[in-house]
């Protein structure tokens, strides 16, 4: 069985859920090895082992700040050196903005095929076959890499993380980072404030607000909280400055694929549909009965969200008792 490298997605050492999904996928393809760039805590190592990592490579450079002070390029260089050393069957990376850029640079360095935004990865004759959702969710595409080491970036929620104890053998990997890779400097970094709600791309339920909120997201947030949901926003709401861009659902924001997506006051332009069309169940609340989003819904309420959502929040709270 070949070794499958999983680049660990972490924020200052805290491993993100997508990494556990990648390790779960990696087990279908071969023996998962976690690649941790930086210094993991004991908890992080135990977590990776618990999701099946047979090996855990801890990658460090002479100048450790290379990875935290410069954008993307140092990570790609480090990964390339590791890939050349171990010759894996594939490299799996989270489909974040940074993850995709690391993957892109790695593909050029290794002269290897690149697939991004996989929503599923399965093994076929020992090689990964990916599924992507394209053209605003109106088509699915199955693809494979035909040259070099398959480099695949995988979307959140592509797999349900399954625990499986791996050997978790830790190996230190010293790498050299070129000066050329230290050219785009991270001058300042401000972590995103915690909202206390589930992560948008990981949530089972998402409630989004659009133009119809008129800038008042309180009914959307309260309804979301009654359901334990994440809050999203349409581009119109974000462009109006009503909600931060990091919560935008759609082509140029986040793609979500939750069990339940509730769109409140969102008409449903193709750009928005691109970000939510693959949701399992879709509900819309909109004053305008002609809103295109109603064509997609499993359930729709024609009505004012400022009246419907607070009343629905009350109903949900009552039913939950």
């Amino acid at each position: 069985m070949s070794e499958i490298l999983v680049l660990v997605d972490h924020v200052d050492g805290a491993v993100r859920k997508t990494t556990n999904e990648l390790l779960t996928i990696a087990r279908r393809l071969g023996e998962p090895s976690a690649v941790f760039i930086g210094s993991p805590s004991d908890d992080a190592v135990a977590g990776l082992k618990g999701f099946g990592a047979e090996k855990i490579y801890i990658v460090s450079a002479d100048d450790d700040s290379a990875f935290t002070s410069y954008l993307v390029a140092p990570k790609a260089e480090a990964l390339a050196q590791l890939v050349e050393k171990v010759g894996p069957g594939a490299v799996l990376i989270s489909s974040s903005a940074e993850g995709k850029e690391v993957a892109a640079r790695l593909a050029v360095k290794l002269e290897s095929g690149l697939i991004t935004d996989a929503v599923d990865v399965q093994a076929e004759d020992g090689a990964p076959v990916t599924t992507q959702s394209v053209f605003a969710g109106s088509y699915t595409v199955q693809a494979k890499v035909t040259k070099g080491t398959p480099i695949i970036t995988v979307k959140p929620n592509a797999a349900t993380p399954e625990q499986a104890e791996g050997a978790g053998a830790v190996e230190q990997v010293p790498v050299t980072i070129s000066d050329a890779a230290k050219a785009a400097k991270i001058v300042a970094s401000e972590p995103r404030k915690a909202t206390g709600r589930p992560e948008l791309t990981e949530a089972a339920i998402v409630v989004s607000g659009g133009r119809g909120t008129g800038g008042n997201f309180e009914p959307v947030e309260k309804f979301a909280d009654s359901l334990g949901a994440a809050v999203g926003a349409s581009r119109a709401a974000v462009d109006s400055g009503w909600y931060p861009h990091s919560f935008q659902v759609g082509q140029t924001g986040k793609t979500v694929s939750p069990q339940l997506y509730v769109a409140a006051g969102i008409s449903g332009a193709i750009q928005h549909r691109a970000g939510m069309q693959t949701s399992k169940t879709i509900v819309a609340v909109n004053k305008d009965e002609e809103a295109p989003l109603f064509e997609l819904v499993d359930f729709g309420v024609v009505g004012d969200l400022h009246k419907v959502l607070p009343a629905a929040t009350e109903e949900v709270t009552k039913r939950k008792g």
Binding site: V108, F135, Y139, A183, S246, V283, F294, V301, K307
Partner: protein, 260 residues
């Protein structure tokens, strides 16, 4: 300062986008246009030009015959000259091969800033700026929602998944901007007229010294095995809210689906 903006001609997202029998995107049978997300790149390039006297903006595209429309639109918006790389051998290229052609074309042009949009609206991979930076050996200052440039020093605001960062680099570099960077201008009547007289060159692969065997569908490092149209969603029940009936019906629906 010399700014090269890389733009893509894409099938209109509101049209019936589909695949050909060989699983490549139909780029001819569907109305195409300059990718909306590249308009932001053209806009930021023009703003840099306006702030730096003596600057020149060159629009570069790789694509079929019709792709010249994307270049024309950018010229109408205010870019100074255009380059269209067109060659039958390029059809079906993956992102890696496309970036190779773009990189070789950029090398032939004076460039301090290589400007890109955040992603195309058809492939939506969002990897070409990073691929270009890697191939050109230039700093990658990407996904800027705010761009500032003083002399050759560029700073952008980058809204990541977990943090908002300020990224700095020194030109020459590859710069990409998001749809948060500011509305793109519409071509004025004057701009449309002026564009007709602007230089527009057509280059083939041999002009770039790229061998046909390095590009196209047969040279792609990935293979699309299958494309399937997703069955359209069927509309469910729609109720009209009257005195709170909508909320009750909604809660009832959510309970029936076990969300409550």
């Amino acid at each position: 300062m010399n700014i090269v903006v890389c733009v893509k001609y894409v099938p209109d997202a509101t049209a019936d986008r589909h695949f050909e029998a060989d699983n490549t995107v139909d780029r001819v049978g569907v109305d195409g246009l300059l990718s909306e997300l590249d308009e932001y790149a053209v806009e930021q390039a023009l703003q840099l030009k306006e702030k730096n006297e003596g600057s020149e903006v060159t629009v570069l595209t790789v694509g079929p015959e019709q792709a010249v429309d994307a270049v024309r639109k950018a010229l109408q918006m205010g870019a100074d000259k255009g380059v269209h790389v067109v060659d039958d051998a390029i059809a079906g290229s993956d992102a890696l091969a496309t970036s190779l052609v773009l990189a070789e074309a950029v090398k032939k042009l004076e460039h301090d800033v290589v400007m890109c949009g955040m992603a195309s609206t058809d492939g939506t991979m969002g990897v070409v700026p990073a691929l270009l930076a890697e191939r050109l050996g230039l700093p990658q200052v990407t996904l800027g929602s705010v761009v500032e440039m003083q002399g050759m020093e560029v700073r952008i605001k980058r809204d990541g998944d977990t943090a908002t960062e300020i990224i700095g680099g020194t030109a020459p570099l590859v710069l990409s901007v998001t749809d948060q960077s500011g509305e793109a201008r519409y071509p004025s009547f004057k701009g449309i007229m002026a564009a007709k007289k602007k230089p527009l060159e057509t280059w083939s692969l041999s002009d770039l010294g790229v061998d046909a065997s390095q590009v196209g569908l047969s040279a792609a490092w990935t293979e699309v095995a299958e494309t399937t149209a997703r069955p359209p969603r069927t509309q469910g029940e729609i109720v009209t809210d009257e005195d709170g009936s909508g909320a009750k019906a909604l809660a009832e629906f959510l309970a029936s689906k076990k969300f409550i």
